[in-house]
Symmetry: C2
Subunit: 420 residues, 2 copies
């Protein structure tokens, strides 16, 4: 019997290091040619599998695959697409089996966050419920750091580093200007439901309290008066203040602060961010000059300032996923296990996918300072190792040299097309 | 007669490399102790001179001064404060002379942009008009790159690199997501009057036309229909599009696009950025999913991704300023002179301050592509050397180690205080 092929796909929001996981999967598979003939990547995630749009990674040179380790975003394309349950939509799974069978695919590696873990779990059940032999392994990834069981999620450490570095730099800037100009700087960061990324803003200070930083977490309901008082106190003490606000912060009515129904001169609804909203409060209540920034995709694409620890984690989970598959596992996810903080040591564990899918890990209350605007020593201890180390991409003419793969399509074997 | 002291101050918006100029001034002065006894820095710029709030840089170690080369923002504080003309407000100049005389200051080094060049020029005229001997040298700095005569302005190269790298990274991100999610990414960058910074977004592509990037320059009046058509064409061809928009883009009525009179639910005016405004147009006209980012202070504080060329320029103009002073010059500014593009070679020239003050250098028409949405080959040739080379700060625990100076005050000698 010839060796099976493997399917690999990227899912959901991409990160600075998800391609490092891809490199981990592909390089490890290439070392096990007798068991994994080739890795076929889904063009635009699972959609590539459903539409039989597969990429033959075997056409990429070793150096191109190695360059994935320093290339951000999703080299094969990602997607936001969640499979329905087997009961609700059997045809999708039958289609997957058709494609997998046609291309001799026996391994399914799915690189994503919580929603994707759910998809991966559903695929892992094909074996049992539809009788097609496949092993599905989830490769963790999410900037939100909200996957359970694993100590952290690959992708998060690099965003955390970006936010910590940017907050430190912008704080120096506003401190320089505060005498006659800007006194408050507001930075909006990602994290719709969990405040991990916002928390990283606190790392800009060597120790809590040494820089005037106010964090607004989605876990803490926004209290306008308390916030204004806090900013005023910081400006009084330091002369300036930086605010790091999570996009997910909610008003007492449960709505996102960012969803404030802004209208233009013609009455058209406008999508504002939460940063300008918070900055306007500072202006209205304290009459202080402000600046604001929305980091958006820049934060999660910023491979130029990625955390070396994060890059290593990302590669390791990709590698481990293949090793687990080769050992016969199904419906599992490699996890990061922290062994010690000083020095930081970690190893790879294995999580049951049923315990991962659709479970969201929020910031524990013990990580948020009592006043709700900062982090505790425990949180700092948790976060610090995750941003450690630099991992610079190579540069040419002043620009990082990110690889663009050839992404050669595997010839289609099926007659039917499939509409998603 | 004992050697005179020098006064040094930072002015206007700070940059990632203005402290490198400070290091150039201070280190060069330290090598000429027989002529410059000490460098006194103004705390918060010229305000420090007016209020006799001087910092004794002699109290800083050699390693602290060297660390300024890798530390962003203004280490002594900056200010937005323009001196009136001698005719309009004589008292300010008399106060400066009082302070300079009390502290034996014979050299005035002013590190700023166009407005600051004007202040520096006025101070240079004290000699002649008020009979106090002082040499005033302007040290160029501005992220906007709008100073005349000099080939470029220190501070610009690093912002340009930040914008080019960020646009490249975010473009990879949106390309990954475009199949099922975000198709247009909008990045707002600085440049109230000149499009130099926005132009740098075009460097994200190795060559014009290889990445779908649309630039909106302040030099080109915003044409809604042409813009929408351009984005639609890019999305059709590439599947996605990145828009780099200068904060200074104007509507046909001459108003800033960002000044669109947004109102919240209570009818209060809200300050929006131009990025969400442009993104909303994309949504309304093309119904495409978008993301937007406002880089704001992050772009000019981003020492972590500074251009090595820019750092070298910044240091060199600080060093040259002192050398020019020691040669007896007054009312001049060291400039960057480009000698060749390939390889990039440059040297320091000397500009007459009267030709610099209050003159704004916009993008030449020959640098903007005919359609108004991109840059020409000439512009690319101009910009490319300015972002060349990396110059990473040292890191500890994952964070750049920026120096915080002691900033010890020089004991006051005057009885009178001065209110600004």
């Amino acid at each position: 019997m010839s060796a099976n092929n493997a399917f690999y796909a990227q899912s959901g929001g991409v990160t600075a290091v998800i391609n490092a996981s891809a490199a981990g999967v592909i390089e490890t598979a290439r070392k096990n040619k007798s068991k994994i003939a080739n890795v076929y990547a889904g063009r635009n995630g699972i959609i590539g599998a459903l539409t039989e749009d597969l990429i033959n990674t075997g056409k990429e040179s070793a150096s191109a695959i190695a360059a994935l380790k320093h290339t951000p975003a999703g080299a094969f394309g990602s997607c936001r697409y969640k499979l329905k349950s087997l009961e609700k939509d059997r045809t999708q799974y039958q289609r997957l089996i058709e494609v997998f069978r046609a291309h001799n695919i026996g391994y399914f590696f799915y690189n994503g966050g919580g929603d994707s873990a759910d998809t991966c779990l559903k695929v892992s059940q094909i074996s049992e419920s539809l009788g097609f032999p496949i092993q599905a392994i989830h490769v963790p990834k999410t900037v939100d750091n909200d996957l359970p069981i694993t100590d952290c999620s690959p992708g998060f450490g690099s965003v955390a580093k970006y936010v910590a570095v940017s907050t430190r730099e912008a704080s120096l800037d506003v401190a320089s200007m505060a005498k006659t100009s800007t006194k408050v700087f507001v930075l909006e960061v990602m994290g719709r439901h969990a405040g991990w990324i916002a928390a990283a803003g606190a790392l800009a200070a060597e120790q809590e309290g040494t820089l005037p930083i106010v964090i607004l977490f989605p876990e803490v309901v926004f209290d306008r008066k308390k916030f204004v008082d806090r900013v005023a106190a910081m400006v009084k003490k330091f002369g300036y203040c930086s605010v790091v606000v999570s996009e997910g912060v909610k008003a007492p009515d449960g709505k996102f602060l960012s969803d404030q129904g802004l209208r233009d001169a013609f009455g058209h609804a406008q999508l504002g961010g939460v940063a300008p909203f918070v900055a306007n409060i500072v202006k209205q209540e304290l009459n202080l000059k402000y600046h604001w920034s929305v980091a958006d995709y820049l934060q999660r694409a910023a491979r130029h300032i990625a955390s070396r620890t994060d890059v290593e984690h990302a590669y390791a989970v990709g590698k481990a996923a293949v090793e687990m598959a080769l050992k016969g596992h199904n419906a599992v996810m490699p996890s990061i296990e922290r062994k010690s903080n000083k020095p930081y040591r970690w190893s790879i564990g294995m999580a049951d996918l049923r315990k991962v899918a659709n479970v969201e890990k929020k910031m524990p209350a013990s990580y948020i300072s009592r006043d709700g605007f900062g982090i505790t020593a425990r949180c700092r201890q948790y976060l610090t190792p995750l941003i450690k180390g630099e991992s610079y991409p190579p540069y040419r003419n002043g620009l990082p040299q990110y690889v663009a793969l050839k992404n050669v399509a595997v010839p289609k074997k099926l007659r039917d097309s499939f509409t998603i």
